[in-house]
């Protein structure tokens, strides 16, 4: 992987995908594009790894897929969040922000350990 980038924690990818899918029906390629643009290309994900994650979540019924036609008139598979997926996203997001806050508090601490 070229350039400076951050590897993802295990499981974090699922949350990011859920978030991407939460906007409405999207295909895998636009999930990849969205991640790239939103993070200013900081998170370097092998794009292929999106697909097993998508399919796993489809099997868990967090998202549903349907075949449709893309912007440029190509047959593409569109994903959409299920109510169950939305619940999952909310739970993961709240865990993540508590985690991030905690890490942030530590990293910005001014007093040294006793």
């Amino acid at each position: 992987m070229a350039g400076p980038g951050v590897d993802l924690f295990q499981g974090t990818l699922d949350m990011l995908i859920l978030k991407a899918v939460s906007w409405g029906p999207v295909h895998g390629y636009s999930v990849a594009r969205w991640l790239q643009e939103t993070t200013n290309d900081v998170l370097r994900v092998e794009e292929g790894s999106l697909y097993p994650a998508l399919h796993r979540m489809e099997a868990r019924e967090w998202i549903v897929a349907e075949w449709g036609v893309s912007e440029n008139n190509r047959r593409a598979k569109f994903y959409r969040l299920t109510p169950q997926g939305r619940k999952q996203l909310r739970a993961q997001a709240s865990t993540w922000s508590r985690f991030a806050d905690a890490v942030g508090l530590v990293m910005t601490a001014t007093s040294q350990p006793a």
Binding site: H27, G28, Y29, A32, E46, E47, G48, S49, Y51, P52, H55, R56, E58, A59, E66, W67, G68, S70, R74, R75, A76, K77, F78
Partner: protein, 885 residues
């Protein structure tokens, strides 16, 4: 748009690989296009897009896997969902037709229950293994007498020692006999126990080791050896509370102290079902003479021997003994596997019952199949609609199968209740001499059997409506709204065939039951040779300690003979007693036999002669049992110990050994003594009603005392009311004696044919059940015909047919069904009744009376079944019918 057409996607099964490939290709191409737009060459753009994607193969593989898993889960989910809806649908169907469901479940439930109950008995008695390892290798060795043709006689002790030494077939040969012993303990009533008197190697031969304590040793088993005993597990638990400290305890048996050395393992019923304990045989090679046949022999086959080789081996030994000893003249030896000896008496009857109850199940199935066919007609419209909506044959068959499975599961549940209850009745009613019948119960084998029946039956019944559905003409049914659609000719033929089969099976069972009833009736009319009414019998055993019985001063056993006198006198003085006797055996016990010689016929005895049944009786015996005097005089009080030796013989002995001569005045010799024959009496059937009376000789008890005696009391009223009084009188003479086998002769006579009665009753119940089912079957088919042909009959009547003719139509059909069923049934019964031949007494398996009676019964049943439908047909009002059409 996507919403709608997505729904149809699943119509063609999703192609997982294709979808994944499309998705990946789309992604890579989109990236490529972006790079080209950014100015890369197509090749470079392709390479960069692939690089950014990562390992395409890996991604594809994982996606395939996930997709396939999901696909499988969904398909299973679909299947379970549809099965569930089938089950729900079936439940609804059955609940809607409660009458139909109840009739089917009850019919099948009773039939399955009866099968399970009979199978439980079969399994418990015959199938379950004996508690002895390698029981197939256990052989009994019998002696036989060529002159009388008997084959299963006891051996003599010296013969046993010779077999032991000379055989090449057995790892060991043990000897055993059975004897009553009286257990006396202070503070408790004396109890009579059944002891197996066994040689020390019997436990090893059977392959059992004591549950606690030790088995007998060779040292225990010598003449005059230690008095030791092994308790049966049953006695140990009931009488000694299962206390392990019983080992080493001293108990009093026949007034002698015995030390308990061990307890037998549970389930060991040897030598007989009711054995309470074992004591050592303690017989040396010269303890008893060769002409005394007192012991049974059991051996375990060596691994290199077979039953046939063992037979040849003991046969050769018997020949050598015959050549060497006069007492062995005419005596052969045979071997018999122990399982055969135990089970062959009951196997034929149980097999017949199992077969019969199987036939009842078949009749029940035919009946239910008929009901299902009738319902299939009613359901035509439902089925046609489902088929028109795209349900395939497979799907319909599955629906029907699920319905019949539900029905049979419900029936099997009812059946298990029926079996549990029925089994309790069966075991209570079963004759006591069926081995192991007390242990019979519903176990896993029985449950498996029931489950097997259930699956077979429900598979069979699933097929009936499926075939009916296959023959449907969809358009026709739908167009005519299914109401007046006729079920088609082959459909009707199938129903007729089922009813004919039911009738035929019922004929077989009725003939079978009829044969047994006739046989039992013949049996009960046999004259036993004595009058059983108002006679009480009770056995007692005099312990040698207080009643010395030395053969040195035989027959002057003062203690024994004075005991006889005192007991006889005291019981005779009881109010309600008309006469009293003591005898060596009750008239229904075979007793023992002896070799003998008749004066003037020595030439015949030298050639060897059959043995004669020897009965030792007090003078009151003949009066008490009503045995008639035919010639000369009866035994009397004057024939005492010191009086001239006399005997009375029965008519059979007179005919067989003194034919043409007047027996009175002839002398007969046995036990080394000559006796004068003073009278001839009628024959008594000592071996039971089914066997002819053997030749017998009666001697005065005072001249031939014995310590095992049966007390016989003739009363003026109900003999069982006197039991208490008789016991009190006995105990006033000797308080330490147990009175056992107490009962009336009437009951003993009934008990002697209990097995025949049991088989007859059960088969009778099965035949009755089959007949009722066949009656219902005929009724169902005829009612259906009348309903179907209402229109036709109405028109006929409108055209001038008389009601009699319409009734005739129905009756003719009933008669046709009955005739065909009867013919097939009679043919089957003629072919099959051979299996009953062993069970019959006094009539043949082809007894014409039975066959004629059974035929009449079945025709009567068919006509009875047609009565209601015929009346219904006669009641048809032509006006109403024509109006309705």
């Amino acid at each position: 748009m996507a919403e709608t057409w997505r729904r149809y996607l699943r119509f063609w099964r999703a192609n997982v690989e294709q979808d994944v490939d499309d998705e990946v290709r789309f992604h890579v191409e989109m990236r490529e296009r972006e790079y080209i737009a950014a100015g890369l060459s197509p090749d470079a753009a392709h390479a960069e897009a692939l690089r950014r994607f990562g390992n395409v193969e890996d991604v594809r593989e994982s996606c395939y896997r996930i997709g396939h898993q999901r696909e499988r889960r969904m398909r299973l989910g679909d299947f379970l969902g549809s099965v569930r809806s089938d089950v729900v649908f079936a439940f609804r169907q059955l609940a809607r037709n409660r009458g139909f469901t109840a009739v089917v479940v009850l019919t099948l439930g009773l039939a399955i229950g009866a099968n399970s109950a009979i199978f439980s008995v079969f399994d418990g008695v015959l199938l379950r293994a004996l508690p002895y390892p390698g029981a197939d290798h256990l052989l009994l060795v019998w002696e036989g007498d060529r002159f009388s043709g008997t084959t299963r006689e006891d051996a003599s002790v010296p013969d046993w020692y010779d077999i032991r030494e000379q055989n090449h077939s057995f790892t060991a040969v043990g000897a055993f006999e059975e004897a009553p012993l009286t257990l006396t303990e202070s503070g408790a009533e004396p109890e009579r126990l059944t002891a197996g008197t066994v040689s020390h190697d019997v436990a090893g031969i059977l392959g059992i080791s004591p549950r606690i304590g030790r088995a007998f040793t060779a040292a225990d088993d010598t003449p005059g050896g230690a008095r030791v005993a092994m308790l049966s597990e049953q006695l140990w638990r009931t009488r000694f509370g299962g206390d392990p400290s019983v080992i080493g305890r001293v108990v009093h048996l026949d007034d002698e102290p015995y030390t308990v050395v061990g307890v037998l393992p549970a389930g060991v019923a040897f030598p007989s079902e009711h054995t309470d304990l074992w004591v050592p045989l303690q017989q040396g090679p010269t303890s008893t003479p060769r002409y005394n046949h007192t012991v049974k022999l059991i051996g375990r086959l060596r691994p290199d021997a077979t039953v046939a080789s063992a037979q040849a081996d003991v046969g050769a030994i018997a020949q050598r003994l015959e050549a060497a000893y006069g007492a062995n003249k005419g005596r052969g030896m045979t071997v018999e596997p122990l399982p055969d000896a135990l089970f062959s008496p009951v196997r034929p009857a149980l097999l017949v019952l199992l077969g019969a109850v199987g036939l009842v199940l078949l009749v029940a199935c035919a009946n239910v199949a008929n009901l299902l066919l009738a319902r299939a007609t009613v359901r035509q419209r439902e089925v046609a609609v489902r088929a028109a909506l795209g349900a395939g044959t497979g799907r319909l068959a599955r629906q029907f199968f699920i319905e019949s499975l539900l029905l049979t599961i419900a029936s099997a549940t009812v059946g298990l209740f029926v079996a549990t209850f029925g089994l309790r009745v069966l075991v209570a009613a079963a004759p006591a001499d069926i081995p192991r019948v007390g242990d019979v119960g519903i176990n896993t084998t029985v449950l498996g059997f029931t489950l097997g029946i259930t699956v077979i039956v429900s598979l069979g019944f699933g097929l009936v409506p499926t075939f009916a559905a296959l023959s449907l003409n969809l358009q026709h049914v739908l167009r005519t709204s299914g109401r007046s659609a006729s079920p088609g000719r082959h459909h009707r033929r199938l129903r007729d065939a089922l009813v004919v089969a039911e009738l035929a099976l019922a004929v077989v069972l009725v003939v079978g039951a009829g044969l047994l009833v006739r046989s039992f009736w013949t049996l009960r009319r046999v004259d036993p040779g004595f009058t059983a009414d108002n006679v009480l019998h009770a056995s007692l055993q005099l312990p040698p300690a207080r009643y010395p019985q030395s053969y040195d001063n035989f027959p002057r056993w003062t203690e024994v003979t004075s005991f006889y006198d005192r007991v006889t006198q005291r019981v005779r003085e009881l109010p309600g007693v008309r006469s009293v006797a003591l005898a060596s055996a009750s008239p229904l016990e075979p007793g023992f036999t002896n070799g003998f010689t008749i004066e003037g016929r020595e030439a015949e005895s030298a050639k060897g002669q059959a043995e004669i049944s020897t009965r030792l009786v007090s003078p009151g015996y003949f009066a008490t049992l009503g045995v008639p005097l035919l010639r000369g005089r009866l035994l009397s009080d004057r024939d005492g110990t010191d009086a001239p030796l006399v005997a009375v013989i029965n008519a059979e002995a007179a005919k067989r050994y003194l034919d043409g001569d007047d027996p009175i005045g002839h002398r007969i010799r046995f036990w080394g003594q000559w006796r004068e024959i003073v009278g001839v009496v009628g024959n008594e059937r000592f071996h039971g009603l089914t066997e002819n009376a053997p030749a017998a000789v009666y001697t005065p008890l005072q001249q031939t005392p014995t310590t095992a005696v049966t007390l016989l009391v003739r009363t003026s009223g109900d003999p069982s009311l006197l039991v208490g009084a008789v016991r009190r009188e006995l105990w006033s003479v000797d308080g330490n004696l147990a009175l056992f086998d107490v009962g009336t002769m009437r009951a003993a006579l009934a008990e002697s044919v209990a097995r025949q009665r049991f088989t007859m009753l059960l088969l009778g119940v099965f035949a009755a059940a089959a007949t009722v089912l066949a009656l219902l079957g005929v009724y169902g088919v005829l009612s259906y015909t009348v309903a179907q042909r209402r229109g036709e009959m109405g028109i006929r009547m409108a055209l001038g047919a008389r009601r009699r003719e319409i009734v005739g139509l129905v009756l003719r059909r009933a008669a046709a069904l009955a005739a065909v069923g009867l013919l097939i049934g009679l043919a089957a019964a003629l072919a099959g009744s051979r299996v009953l031949a062993h069970l019959l007494f006094g009539i043949g398996a082809l007894d014409p009376v039975t066959y004629v009676a059974a035929s009449i019964a079945i025709i009567a049943v068919a006509l009875a079944a047609s009565w209601l439908p015929a009346r219904r047909a006669a009641g048809i009002e032509p006006a109403t019918v024509l109006h309705g059409e």
